[in-house]
């Protein structure tokens, strides 16, 4: 699913975001990435989505090498990924359900099926009553859940979520974590960055990757 060999990421201003990252992530795995702010968590996710490119080493996501000059192949790869961005990236002036549907409009799905799936996804994140609300009228926590629904409606092979519970209360955060954990049944790989270590401790499944100053340390939870 994800293969990283000696991956380094240096930004043009000289910041070394990641150093010699070696990773092997299997289909259906649940990966939690933790670490202090500025440790390189988001940079690692950006590499997985193909927003950034390794400055050294080799990285392959869903069989696609993450290298410059393959923009259209990387874009095609992204169709199999359900991303949840830290800033949600929802489209204003559209309702929650329209935003969720936008995530899968260009995939091979009929409009009727897409609408059904969008309703199911919004129910899973507990937002069925807000599906026709404009996203700019929703709270941060609700927007975060719309972004999660947009990621899962695509039925992706890989979910990459940057702080998906950052704006949620405890109950909603637990629900979302359980929702991600349940995707294992569909063999979906989930990679999450989070500060909420207390939630991870409750789950007892998956792998914990701790990043500090761009260097990773791994441990199994189960």
């Amino acid at each position: 699913m994800i293969e990283a060999e000696g991956v380094c990421l240096n930004y043009p201003d000289g910041t070394m975001a990641l150093r010699n990252v070696d990773l092997h992530i299997e289909p259906g795995e649940m990966i939690y990435i933790t670490g202090p702010s500025g440790s390189g968590k988001t940079s690692l996710l950006k590499l997985f989505i193909g927003i950034e490119f390794p400055t050294d080493g080799k990285l392959t996501v869903l069989g696609q090498p993450i290298i410059r000059g393959q923009a259209s192949k990387i874009r095609q790869m992204r169709r199999s990924i359900g991303p949840v961005f830290q800033d949600f990236r929802l489209v204003n002036g559209r309702t929650a359900i329209e935003n969720v549907m936008l995530g899968a409009r260009f995939l091979d799905m009929s409009n009727k099926k897409l609408k059904e799936n969008a309703v199911i996804a919004l129910k899973k994140v507990g937002l069925e009553k807000k599906m026709f609300s404009m996203v700019e009228h929703l709270s941060w926590g609700q927007c975060q859940r719309v972004a999660i629904a947009r990621a899962i409606v695509r039925k992706p092979r890989l979910i990459i979520a940057d702080e998906p519970t950052g704006n949620l209360d405890k109950d909603n955060a637990i629900n979302i974590m359980e929702l991600f954990a349940s995707l294992k049944e569909e063999n979906t790989t989930v990679v999450i960055t989070t500060h909420a270590t207390h939630l991870i401790n409750n789950l007892r499944e998956g792998r914990l990757i701790h990043i500090e100053s761009g260097i990773i340390h791994q441990e199994r939870l189960d």
Binding site: Q76, V91, M101, R105, N111
Partner: protein, 309 residues
Amino acid sequence: MRAALYIKKGWIDIVKTIMNNFGYFMKEARTIIKINFMSNILSIVSIGLILFFAAATLSSWWISNQVVEIIEDEAEINVYFAEDIDKKKVEHIINNIETLAGVEEVRLVDENEAYHRMEEILGKEAKVLQYLDDNPFSPYIEVQIDLKSMESVIEGLKNIEGIDQIRDNKEIFDKVRNLSSVLKTLGYIFIVAVGASTLIIISHIIRTGIYENREQINTLILLGAPDGFISFPFIIEGMILTLGGGLLASIILSLTLRYAYSVMTGPLPFIPLPDQKSMVTNLVSMIMLLSAVLGLLGSLFGLRSAKSR
């Protein structure tokens, strides 16, 4: 074979995506237009006026061209002779004219036929002839000729004895032909100018729309949306603007032509105008087709330049 199948599948996928999302694309195009509503309305008006001027020039060329064609078909010279000569002498003149190269038909038009012909030309205005006591028209010889031989025929007629006066429509014909050629050139220049200015307007509007919607476009790119999916609402926007302009131009042109015909058919009944209905239909079809093509091209240019930027 395999490559052909992939291409075929690619096209099927594109058509499927368009069919599944047509409502979404229309809604997105409407939203994009709403964001810059005033500039979009002004674009429609300017495109409409540009198309109207082009169509007006083309319709003038069309009318003058028709006049030239009719004059070409009816290229003739009228030959007048002294009224006191006898029939034998007139027949002799006719026989001499028939021997000239370039002459296709020669016939005598007597004073009664000349009177009736003027009645037909004047149409509703023919009642003025009733105020005349006598028939004022003289008999003459009508000579149908090949237009290219007009000058040599005129030279030949000057050498025939008994001819008083030769009246040809060469001067008028040359003037109309020159006017028609000027209008034709102007028409082509206008079409090129219309094409260029419409493409500039549309591509600028599309680029502005892309800039205004850059956040949404970036999100779609991150979600893996293909370029075609992202571009389609902008192509629809471009087409709506040019077709709107085309519609406006068509309305103004129809009204202008209706007015022009009512003015021209009154005092100038002898000008052979083309059928108004078919002319309006042809011009409107041409404007709408041109609008659609320019809308599509302008949007594609706008998208291309925004992408390269």
